[in-house]
Subunit: 409 residues, 2 copies
């Protein structure tokens, strides 16, 4: 008998028919003798509907009240799923985040889980109940409702698995696992049987949408065995997220290629190449709550240099405004330029650590396709490049082929 935490996302519970389907799958697991805690998201579209209502009343909704409104989405789903389970003769009980004491900090709309009191869930599991918990939400120490931000239901599932010391945390999504890259771009993309936490983290931060990045961090920190599976296919084994130690033997060079079109590039031209210049530029950007991803500063000539960074495309205009109004004249930059038509393509793999030549092979492949690289950044297990967004598919396909990702590792 194993204790398993399963998480079903918004698409998996998108209609009452699909909720019934989730109940059927839960029933199947029960017949194998497992204990189950099920975490669910809001019905797909519901969070956006509630957000739109809120924005009709406040263009920037009050964060505390927004969380009160948004938390209802998951609360509806837990009740409906329990009804579907009970209708099948399965004993089940639903809990909001607050009811199972998911204590968070008070950072409304992006709260972090501090503690979970698992006693009530343990008692229910011992009594043979399926425990259904609302994802995405908790309570702060004062009893205010908080939410964990987009994708927070994954984090709830992993946090519950950690608190309960579950044997496995299964994330059901609309894909059947983690692929070498997006199969919609590269039909030859191959499902990975396993991938390390570090690779998963880098892939998530590089744009892979399979798992929410904080949930992967959480799983890594608490050593939760995590598996990504399809909500809609019955059989597959999905992808297991492993600790590097487990799989050292047959480590692939490159696990996958991630990409995203969500970023924009900003360049501050002709700035003095002196200490403190990066802070002079990025300080005001940070103060405006704009997150910066890649940062590049070239060696300068004549004491002048160009300084580039990328931001989320939604914050592109805001970043330009900050630079033009608060930075440009202050640091005597010659110009502020920007480009929103870029994309980032990243190769991820723990094998990179011990194999030289990955970067040069990547750059050569892109050069052979005539693709100009605008920015480069590297980490221990990732190389990211910024290129013109029109080359994105071409670049991903060429790299997938060059690194033979379509071949079983």
């Amino acid at each position: 008998m194993a204790l398993i935490v399963q998480k079903f996302g918004g698409t998996s519970v998108g209609t009452t028919e699909r909720i019934r389907n989730v109940a059927r799958r839960v029933a199947k697991f029960l017949t194998k003798g497992h204990q189950l805690v099920v975490v669910v998201s809001a019905i797909s579209g519901e969070t956006n509907r509630l957000l739109a209502l809120a924005k009709e009343l406040q263009s920037e909704p009050d964060p505390r009240e927004l969380d009160v409104v948004l938390a209802t989405g998951e609360q509806v789903t837990i009740g409906l799923l329990c009804m579907a389970l009970i209708e099948r003769g399965i004993k089940a009980r639903s809990y909001t985040g607050g009811q199972v004491s998911i204590l968070t900090d008070n950072a409304y709309t992006k709260a972090r889980i501090l503690r979970i009191d698992e006693e009530r869930m343990r008692a229910d599991l011992a009594a043979g109940l399926v425990v259904v918990v609302a994802g995405f939400q908790g309570l702060d120490a004062q009893g205010n409702i908080t939410t964990l931000g987009r994708g927070g239901s994954d984090t709830t599932a992993v946090a519950l698995a950690a608190a309960l010391k579950a044997d496995e945390c299964q994330i059901y999504t609309d894909v059947d696992g983690v692929y070498t890259t997006d199969p919609r771009i590269v039909p030859e993309a191959r499902r990975l049987k396993s991938v390390t936490f570090e690779e998963m983290l880098e892939m998530a931060s590089a744009g892979s949408k399979v798992l929410q990045i904080r949930s992967v961090e959480f799983a890594g920190k608490y050593k939760v065995r995590l598996r990504v599976l399809s909500s809609f296919e019955e059989e597959g084994e999905g992808t297991l997220i492993t600790f590097e130690d487990d799989t050292k033997m047959e480590q692939a060079l490159i696990s996958g290629i991630a990409f995203n079109r969500d970023e924009a590039k900003v360049t501050v031209m002709g700035v003095p190449d002196r200490p403190g210049i990066a802070y002079a530029i990025l300080g005001p950007v940070g103060d405006a709550n704009i997150d910066v991803d890649m940062i590049i500063q070239n060696a300068g000539v004549d004491g002048l240099t160009d300084f580039s960074f990328t931001v989320h495309r939604n914050e592109y205009q805001k970043a330009l405004d900050v630079l033009n109004q608060q930075v440009k004249s202050h640091i005597k930059a010659s110009d502020i330029r920007g480009d929103a038509k870029i994309c980032k393509v990243s190769m991820v793999g723990v094998g990179m650590r011990t194999h030289a030549g990955i970067a040069s092979r990547m750059f050569r492949t892109l050069a052979e396709e005539g693709i100009n690289i605008q920015m480069i950044s590297t980490s221990e297990i990732k190389i990211s490049v910024v290129i013109d967004e029109k080359y994105m598919e071409l670049a991903v396909r060429a790299l997938h082929k060059a690194f033979e990702l379509d071949q079983p590792a």
Copy 2:
């Protein structure tokens, strides 16, 4: 400075535009220096939408889980109203039933309020905040979410007013007060400036939809000053629900005429006229959870009698089934007959107590219109008759005129 509890129903918060309107009215009250607690219902239609989702999964949804789902309706509204208030620069904070410790019993879908901890609200009011509370819901002693049943938001408002010892509890509805009868039936119907709790209770139980009956009971029990007002008209004073003592001086004979078409009549024919027969008939009906309203037993001839009662029209068929299957042969009744095309018309007034002749004047009026009376029941301050439903409007208009209810009292 007064402490006022205001309740806005589903129609009053039916759109974001209307929620903004509620915020505007709250703002106006604040400028008069009052402290305000605002109770809101779910956006109109939302409870029915959620109920329909539940019924897609279970024809009779699990009561505990149904309450989890339904309670979200009010939770959405409290957050949205707070946003509208904050957008106007008003300090406001929302609370679910659980967050202000509205403790109920565990009768899911029709829970009763046991206790309210008002400390948190008092602290907020003292700090100059408008407190916005979700109607219709609470928590039981185990922390399970409960709801109070249809119209429960009125009860929440009155219970909060009682706990806070508020100066007045104002119920905003889509009518501007309590009328002598429904103005859609009798255009001459007149708004009452005041009506007693007892009259209000009898009118609610007789079909008047203005206030939920439990909220009136609650207000009477805790001596809460209650006023019904229009959500949509700015000026009117509505109708004050008073204690009889307050208004003894100018007591009207009859305050109003209530009516409903929600009932059906059932008659058990030719039963032995002996002790225990009423229990033999109504015992099984009660066991089937069918509520009975009027009950009539005529004096018998030849040791046989007819026994009639009314039930809600939704439970008419169920009542007939129970009688035919469990009662008829057991008590040797000659026949079971029923009629769903009836209505009940009731005249209500505390003045009835001290004035004879109301009943005979009522019966004469109906006779003059050629309306046959099928059943009669009376209380100290109410006379109800059951008649063919096709005569309902005619009867109400004739009685309204005969008792000069269109004339100011």
